[in-house]
Structure formats: C-alpha cells, structure tokens
C-alpha cells in the first residue's frame, strides 16, 4: 500500500504532492470534528465535506491502485514464467561454480601457482586434488566436472573418468605400511573412535573431535569428508566403514609434520596408535603424490590440464562468451584466439546475419509490388487480395515448411515440372533443399507477410494526388515514382525490414528442416548445445548474444515505428 501511494505521488501530473501528506494527517481530525460553516469559508469542498482537491487526489490514487491491481496478476505471471527463465539463461552464461564447488581444496591450492610458467603445480596441489577427487568420485560429481572442463581442453573428461576409478588408491603405499604396523589402521571402529567428536552418533552429520583436529588437521579434514560422503551417498554409518587410502596419506603427512613429543602429549582416543605410528613413519617408504597421479594417467604431468583447472576456477567466467566469438581464456589470464579447428561461431554468426539480410532483401523485392498493388486498388478488391496474404500468415509454420520440403525435393513437384518443361535433364535434377537456397526460399515465403503488412499500412496513407500532381507538372512516371512516391514509402520499408530481420535471425524450425548443414543458423547451434552436447553454459552465452542483437534491433524499431503500432493484420 505505502509503496503504491508513494509511486502515485511521484507521477508528474499528480497535483501538489506534499498536500497529500498534510491531507493524510488532517483526515483523521476531520472524522472527529465535523466541517464548520460549509462552503462559505475555506477551499471548495465536495459533497461529503472534504476539500475538493484532496477528494480528487484520493480518487486518483484509488484509480491508480485499481489499475495496478488489475495488471498485477499478469505481471507476476509473466515475471515467473518468462522473465525469470530469461534471467536464468543470462546467469548461466557466466556461472561456473562447478569447478570451485567440486575441487575446493585444489582451486585454493592453485591460487598461488603461475599457470603461464609451464611448470607443474606444487605437491600440495596434487594432495588437494587427491582429497577433492576421492570425495567427488564417491558423490559421482567428477564426471560432470570432467565434461565441463572438456569443453575447454579436450581429453580432460576421459582423464577425470579414468582417475576417478582409481583415486581411492592414492596413498595406498602408506595405507599398506600403516596396516603392517597395526591392524587397527585398517579397521573402521578404531578410526571412528579416534576422529569422531565424543557426542557424535551416526545419523547426525559427522563431527570431528576438536582436540584431534588441532593435532592432526589434515587427517581430521580428510576423514570428515570421507565420513560425510558415506553418510550422504550411501546412508552408511562411517563407524562401520574403513576409510579410503587418501585418509592414510593425510595421516602420514600430519605425523611427519608433527614431532614425537607433541604426539606423546596427546591422550585422546587412539593416542597409543598415534604414538606408535609417529615413531615408525620416519622409516616409511615414501612416494610423491604427483607420481601416484602420474601412475594413474600421465596426463597429470601435462601443465595444460592444471592450467585449465586454474583458469576456470573462478565462480564466474567470461569463458562461454569468449568461446562464442572464437576466443578463449589463456593460461596466463589473457585472451587468445581459439584453435583453428574449433573456430565456428563467428562464421555461424556471419552466416546468420548474411542469410537474414538476403531473406530481408528478397522480402522487400517481393513485398513492395504487392504492398503497392494493395494500396492502389479499390478497397473491396484490396481486401480480397489481402486474404491471399493473410492465409499464409495464419497457416501453421510447420505446414509451410513441410510444403517447401515436399516441393523442393529432388523427386519433388518443382523438379518434376522443370524436367517436364525440359529446362532440366532428368538425371541432373537440381538440389534445392538441405542447403542455403532451400532456407532462403522457405523463409522468404514464411516471412513475406510480415513485410507486406507494414508496407501496405504505410502505403495506404500516401495520397495518390501527390503522384498525379508530379505527373501534371511534367514528371515521367518513373521520376514521379522515385522522387515522390518511393520516399514516402520508406518508413514502411524500414519497419518491414527490421521486423523480418529480427524474426529471421532467431529462426530455428525452418533452417533445421530445410537447411542441411550449410543453411543452418546460430539458433540451431544453441539447440544443439542444449540437447546434444549438453554444454548449457555455451548455449546460454550464444543465446545472450542473440538476445542482445534482437533487443538492440527492437530498440531501433521502436524509435522508427513505435512498438505499440505492431499490427496483427
């Protein structure tokens, strides 16, 4: 209510806004003491005694409120069913949470690493990757991430899938040695007793013992992520599952980094096991974690893989937009050209624009004579002929597309007629479909009414007396047309052209059905990325660019014609 009132007062034509404030205060008083003296003194009053000004203002406000309440349900409906989806698409075109969400430790370990320097990242990054991947693997997120990164660097998807299969063995070397030392290191119970907080019990999310976590931070963290994964994914009690090898890797790293005295001083659960292990780890056989990864797949020694992870670790990325214009993010954070064999989008945008322009040109050429004829014929005949324009306009798009598909085929009606006339030899039938020609013909046919209708409505308003006057002054018919008639019809051409062009660049169905491979538009690529390659971010970025182009064109259209003048025939 209050917001509505205030919007009402902001409107320029509302009389003296501050009166309303005084009025509201005075209104309460007025109810208690009745108006004295009537109309004789003070301002004009309405029948119920309130000043006329205020009473008018109140009714104005009520009108505005009523109008708004009538519009509100639809506005809300369109916002939810249409505007929110568009906003979601815009958001998806830059959103990139998946990398930092799936590999939180790795991305922060890579923060300091210089991706441009061609070196491998530090050992800590490999360790972090082991913890992240084993967790992601259990939660079945690693293939999704692999697919995401594969859009940027081919081969990452299979690398992640392969690594996911054996990542719970990373740290096996320590696992075996701890187990040799004490059987309990391969037992679920002792581990759980040692790490869990005293008051934790299974269905509650796992909590680590604070004292243990202070002493052995990596182990506590690695075990917690193991325990939570068990609970979330399989609803298993972590106290009944023996932890995976990366937890033992964490245990080894913690023990090596802590001196014997500190461990001896600890007296929580499992302290004797820890003391014993601390004494032994110095003699353990060791192996670099990076080497463990290399044993799974040597691609982990390829700095490019790591550079990809680092480059795409931010939550928001311009990467999809860059791909849309055949550029890519380089490892050093700069922007470089996309690999030659993947440069397809600029070509597609160019083709979409070029073909839309050709279709627009064809529509002007074919639409102008019809508009002229309709505008110069008597109303009765013009209305009859207008039906010939409106019938295709009203006919289902699919019907018109299938008609062209049937007509343009090699064994179709047009080729048959051409062969029958003798223009084309039977064995040299023309290929008119599944190429640019097919798309242009079919779309010109489909969009022609959108050109004729605005042309006709503009030409109808041109008085024929101007051309007659020009002729009576000695102009030849062609001069009279080009110098007098044509300039007056230009607004109609402009309106029709923009309308046809806007509709053409967003077309999907017709190019998909008659365009083959050379006659497809950017919208076909968007559909491909949504339903086949599942690269939704790229689809969203391409869609956003297309949307921006269309909105700019509509803005131009609005300037020239006014959006309210959209005619439906």
């Amino acid at each position: 209510m209050s917001t509505l009132d205030s919007t009402g007062q902001q409107t320029a034509d509302a009389p003296t806004p501050d009166d309303a404030f005084h009025g509201a205060a005075a209104l309460g008083k007025r109810d208690t003491d009745p108006p004295r003296g009537g109309a004789a003194e003070g301002p004009l009053v309405s029948a119920d005694g309130t000043p006329l000004k205020r009473s008018l203002q109140r009714s104005l406000r009520r009108q505005k409120l009523r109008a708004f309440l009538l519009v509100a349900p639809l506005l809300l409906f369109v916002l939810v069913t249409f505007i929110a989806p568009i906003a979601d698409m815009l958001f998806r075109s830059v959103e990139n949470e998946i990398v930092s969400e799936t590999l939180p430790r790795t991305t922060s370990a890579l923060a300091e690493w210089d991706a441009g320097a061609e070196d491998l990242p530090p050992e800590d990054a490999f360790v972090a990757l082991a913890y992240d991947l084993v967790d992601a693997q259990e939660r079945k997120l690693h293939t999704r991430l692999g697919t995401r990164l594969n859009y940027e660097t081919t081969g990452v998807s299979s690398l992640f899938r392969k690594t996911g299969r054996s990542v719970d063995d990373v740290g096996d070397i320590y696992f075996d040695q701890f187990e040799d030392l004490n059987e309990n290191w391969d037992e679920a119970g002792p581990w759980a007793r040692m790490v869990a907080a005293p008051d934790w019990a299974h269905p509650a999310p796992f909590m680590a013992n604070a004292e243990f976590a202070a002493l052995m931070p990596e182990t506590a963290e690695a075990y917690t992520s193991f325990a939570r994964a068990m609970q979330d994914e399989n609803d298993d009690d972590p106290a009944a599952e023996e932890p995976w090898a990366p937890v033992h890797l964490a245990l080894y790293r913690d023990l090596i980094a802590t001196d014997q005295g500190t461990i001896d001083a600890y007296n929580g659960p499992g302290s004797d096991m820890l003391t014993e292990a601390r004494a032994a780890v110095d003699g353990f056989e060791t192996q670099a974690v990076s080497v463990m990864f290399e044993e799974i797949d040597e691609d982990w020694f390829d700095p490019e893989v790591w550079a990809t992870i680092k480059t795409f670790s931010p939550v928001y990325t311009p990467g999809y937009f860059l791909t849309s214009v055949d550029l890519k993010l380089a490892a050093d954070g700069g922007i470089t050209a996309q690999d030659e064999d993947q440069q397809i989008y600029l070509l597609l945008f160019q083709r979409t624009l070029f073909m839309s322009l050709v279709i627009m040109g064809c529509c002007v050429l074919l639409g102008y004579p019809i508009g002229y004829l309709l505008a110069t014929l008597p109303a009765r005949q013009a209305n009859l002929l207008l039906i010939l324009v409106l019938l295709p306009f009203w006919t289902s798009l699919l019907v018109r597309t299938s008609a062209w598909k049937v007509l343009l085929q090699q064994q179709g009606v047009i080729n048959d007629v051409l062969v029958w006339i003798g223009l084309v030899a039977d064995e040299a039938r023309l290929t008119m479909i599944n190429n640019q020609f097919g798309t242009i013909v079919a779309m010109t046919h489909i969009l022609l009414p959108f050109m004729i209708l605005p042309l006709y409505s503009v030409m109808k308003t041109i008085p024929p007396s101007y051309v007659r006057a020009a002729k009576s002054l000695g102009a030849t018919p062609s001069t009279a047309f080009w110098r007098v008639y044509f300039p007056q019809s230009v607004p109609g051409i402009g309106a029709g052209c923009i309308l046809v062009f806007i509709l053409a660049i967003g077309y999907y169905i017709t190019p998909e059905l008659v365009g083959g491979t050379t006659g497809t538009f950017i919208s076909n690529r968007i559909a491909f990325h949504i339903s086949s390659s599942l690269n939704w971010g790229l689809a969203a970025a391409l869609g956003t660019i297309l949307l921006a182009v269309v909105l700019i064109l509509y803005w131009v259209y609005d300037r020239i014609v006014g959006i309210d003048n959209v005619s439906l025939g």
Partner: protein, 284 residues
C-alpha cells in the same frame, strides 16, 4: 478491374499489365505451396509428387489412406489429444489474465505503463529459441520441465502479448462514458463490467484468444524443450516426422491444419468487422 485509363501511352499500358503479371506471380509464390499440398495429401501412393494417375484425374490415383492413417495411428492421435489439451488450457490462462491486465492498462493513470507494457510484450519479441532455452533451464530447476503444467504455462506466456495487443486495441475505441452512465444508473463495477464493457470488447477478447490458441497450437520450439515425450503435440510430431522419416501422413495433417487456419482467419475477420460496427466505425 477498370484497366488502364484510355489516355495511357503504350508503354504505360505495357507497364500496367506487366506489373499485374508480376504481382500475380508473387501471389502465386505465396499461395501455391499451401495449395499444392492439399491434392498431394490425397495421393494413393506414398509419393510426394503428382503421379500420372493423379494428373489424369483418374479416381484410382486418389485415396484417403493418409487421413485414415492419421485417425488410426496411435502416435498421431496421442499428439492430437495433447495439442487439444494444451492449447485450450494455455488460451484460458492467457485470455483471463490478459484481459484483466489490458483493462488495467487502458485506465488513464497507470504507474510505469511503458515498462509494464514492455515486460508483457516481451514474449513476442524474444526469439523462440531463446525463450525455449531459458524456460528449459529454469523449468528444470523448479521441476516443471517435462510436465503438462510446464508446457501450459510456457504457452500461456507466449500467447499473452497477442491478447494484450488485441484487447488494448479494442479498448482504445471504448467509450468511457458508457461505464460512467452505467455507474450513474446504479450498477456496481462488476455488473458494469459484465453487462456493459464485456459485450463491447468481446470481439477483441475472442480474437485475442484465437491468436493465443493458434500460438500454442502451432508452437513447436518451446514444447520440444519444455515438454517430454508425454507432451508431444501435433507440430512436434510433424517436426519429428519431417526430420526423420517423412511420411505422406504429414501432408494430410497439414491439409487439416490449413482448413483450421482458414476457419480461424474467417472468424477473426468477422469479429473485426463486428467490433468496428459496434464502435460505430464504418467497416472498411
């Protein structure tokens, strides 16, 4: 037609007839593809061209077998019922909300009129593939993707601009003194709406509804993405048919759809004339 004026020169005469021939060819281009498929749909063979029997007007060359296929094939029947379930629901939704909003928008004082109008018209402006992509992303987030409700909501959103445009256009010519007269005679706003305003704007509402219906009935891009196999509509089935194995049944369906379009076009035209007459304008 009157023909060229008697004082016209020879070249003017030539141009006069030449121009009409050109226009005739363009009209032929507009209409011929649609007309051609109608006889082809009665083809007795599974061809997409005129067989010699058809050209000889031999009755053996014609048959109703493609129509029979349409009315017996479970896929096509399912698609038809889906279309007939989705389009009316979407139409009711967009007409009821759209008419209310159009009445609200035609009041003299509406805050943020231009912005609201822009939002309500936007489903018509945004290319369908973008609407489809956005709806696919968003509806799968909120669990509407692949549901009947999701498709109905999406189609209702697409139909709303047409309802808004036609109904506001009717309301422009609406004489406000009529509602004031009704109110001064003691009618409450609801009675005024149904007894005075509604009968007068009804032609606009119905043609808006027809536009919304045809939008949903013909729509294929959004339903492909927002719907699932259970919501496969007639245009979707045609699209699949055209892309995969093209069967002449499509031509039978296309012919039926052309007949529906002609019926709708005639209805809209009649309504437009009636509306102009009611508003006291002379029919043009």
């Amino acid at each position: 037609m009157a023909g060229p004026p008697s004082y016209a020169t020879t070249s003017e005469r030539a141009w006069y007839y030449g121009f009409r021939v050109i226009c005739g060819l363009i009209f032929f281009f507009l209409i011929a593809p649609i007309i051609t498929i109608i006889p082809l749909s009665f083809n007795a063979q599974d061809f997409f061209t005129f067989t010699p029997e058809m050209l000889a007007l031999n009755p053996d060359g014609y048959s109703l077998k493609h129509y029979e296929d349409f009315f017996t094939n479970p896929d096509w029947q399912q698609a038809m019922w889906n279309s007939l379930k989705i389009a009316p629901a979407a139409t009711v939704l967009s007409v009821s909300l759209g008419t209310l909003a159009a009445i609200g928008l035609s009041q003299p004082h509406v805050p943020f009129r231009r912005a609201i109008m822009a939002i309500l018209i936007s489903p018509m402006i945004v290319p369908l593939i973008i609407s489809a992509a956005g709806m696919y992303f968003f509806y799968s987030r909120i669990g509407l993707q692949g549901t009947y409700l999701g498709v109905v909501l999406a189609h209702a959103a697409l139909g709303i601009p047409f309802v808004i445009i036609t109904v506001t256009a009717t309301l422009v010519g609406f004489d406000r003194s009529l509602t004031r007269a009704a109110a001064s005679l003691g009618a409450d706003p609801v009675t005024t709406f149904f007894k005075v305003q509604m009968p007068l704007i009804l032609p606009g509402v119905i043609s808006g509804g027809l536009f919304a219906f045809i939008t949903s009935f013909d729509e294929v891009v959004v339903v492909i993405f927002v719907g699932s196999a259970n919501q496969q509509t007639l245009p979707w089935q045609m699209f699949t048919g055209l892309r995969e194995q093209i069967s002449p049944t499509i031509l039978a369906v296309a012919t039926l759809l052309v007949i529906i379009s002609i019926a709708l076009l005639a209805t809209v035209e009649i309504l437009r004339r009636r509306s102009e007459r009611l508003r006291g304008m002379s029919p043009t």
